[in-house]
């Protein structure tokens, strides 16, 4: 059995989780502090990829990065670079789709953060960077970790947008989800079952992790 799809899915999910981690926290932190109107607007825009059909997200991405897309055109002309139909195009699609999960859970964590801790740190002379990494982040750890796990799981299972921007090329862009679809089309049920089981196992582990995190969170520590 060729394990490339597992390897490819994992690397795509890991890298896109890393990206959404920083972008999601950055967006959450600043939007949690924004005035109410701006907050509402940005919140809608940033959460949109979660509720849009993944194919619509894929469509938008293709408009931007395909060789005759808004940005893809220049990349192709100047560097002869073609992003679509590569494995890293999938990083882009999974990042966009998983971003809202990270952003929303992190924002929830930041909003429930006791502002007095921030104020106490500031009056004690601690720098804002120190306060963010040593006080805010550890205090919001549970919420942020839950966001990380959820966006990782979403990245791992992403199909719609990924298949549009990265397609299915065995040993190059195949992920678990696109492989299952392909195997089903080829009526290769035996192999499809194997991949379905692998997928079930990973998903269940992730859910278990989220539940454990939430339980710890409720216990208050």
């Amino acid at each position: 059995m060729d394990l490339f799809p597992l390897y490819n899915s994992l690397r795509i999910a890991l890298i896109s989780t890393l990206i959404t981690f920083f972008l999601g926290i950055f967006a959450a932190y600043y939007i949690a502090k924004a005035p109410r109107l701006l907050k509402g607007v940005l919140d809608c825009v940033l959460t949109l990829p979660m509720v849009l059909p993944p194919t619509v997200v894929g469509f938008f991405l293709l408009i931007i990065i395909s060789p005759n897309g808004i940005i893809g055109k220049y990349l192709f002309e100047w560097y002869n670079l073609r992003i679509t139909m590569t494995w890293y195009a999938a990083i882009l699609s999974t990042s966009v789709v998983a971003f809202p999960l990270m952003y929303r859970t992190a924002r929830g964590a930041f909003e429930s953060f006791d502002k007095n801790l921030l104020y106490a740190g500031q009056t004690l002379g601690l720098s804002n960077t120190y306060i963010f990494w040593k006080i805010i982040m550890p205090t919001c750890k549970q919420g942020i970790l839950a966001g990380v796990v959820l966006s990782f799981a979403r990245g791992l299972g992403e199909y719609g947008a990924t298949s549009m921007v990265a397609g299915y090329t065995p040993n190059r862009t195949a992920t678990i989800s696109t492989t299952v679809y392909q195997l089903w089309r080829e009526s290769n049920d035996a192999l499809a079952y194997k991949w379905v089981l692998i997928n079930l196992f990973i998903s269940l582990s992730v859910l278990l992790a989220v539940n454990l995190l939430e339980k710890n969170h409720k216990r208050g520590n």
Binding site: N116, L117, Y119, L124, P138
Partner: protein
Amino acid sequence: MLEVNITKKLRAFTLDVNFKADNNALALLGQSGSGKSMTLKCIAGVEKPDSGKIILDGEILYDSAQGICLPPQKRRIGLLFQNYALFPMMTLLQNVMSGCKQIPRKARKAHALELIKRFGLEGFENIYPNKLSGGEQQRAALARMLAANPRLLLFDEPFSALDTHLRRQLSQMTADVLRSYDGSAIVVSHDCAEAFRLCPQIAVMEKGKITVHKDRVSLFKAPETVVAAKLIGCENILPVRTGEKSVIISNLGIIVDKIKSDDITAIGLPANAIHIDNNGEYKFNATVIQIINSPYEVTLVLNMDYSKYDIFCSLPNSVEIPKLYSNVTFSFDKKDIFFLKEGN
């Protein structure tokens, strides 16, 4: 010396405070939502006023005209929170050490341990805040605040989350801290006894403004405004009509004359200023409609047929208490009356 003169628009009213505090502790006394905490936050620099000036020991911390607004990190002002705001992911020692950024790295631990000892927290160094009792958390927060060697101490309702016994102990400890502390301090409170214990000067805040600011003894002798009278615990506050150089307390059927009556809208009469005899300057008859026993005194609730206000009269336990529903003559003296105006 601290000089504050700031305005800031809040949802319900505009904060507009103007006061000076010398090296004696000052209490900001007010009902909840009167802008006390916001004033402290503006002084500490964690909130920004809309305009005005804040000057501490000659240094400008904030001046909207000159565009100066020092970040809280540069102000060296200690702020103690109602919920203590200890960092939950750090041990007690780490919490106290986080206040030691001003001193050399090597000396920090010794400095923190010394403060921990001073506040009787030895043995708790490696304990996390959620395992400490309310009183211990409060002392830990005091230690952490003092570790930063602040020039000004701000206390935001420091004891409101504690029970009576602990409250007394900790306010004693805070009084010691204030005594040995060489700088100004501001204590925000809604409890007049606490304010009196800790601060020689008391400023009363109403809807974002300071309406009365005087030393504690004279505040308790003459609260001046209705809110101040309520805050110092004056039980009877009755509306009055004013005549020329007199006020008419229609609820008691009494006219007090030969006083300066401008702006006076109410009088305050402490429950213990009313005696159950004929000897006072002003007399009234009332029915005793309720008798409330407390450990050291008895409070009578009095009513007159023509009044919608109940009058409270407290008597020492030693006095003979009239029967319930009996009609009795009470009296009081002019010197015990507070003449009150509206705050704004």
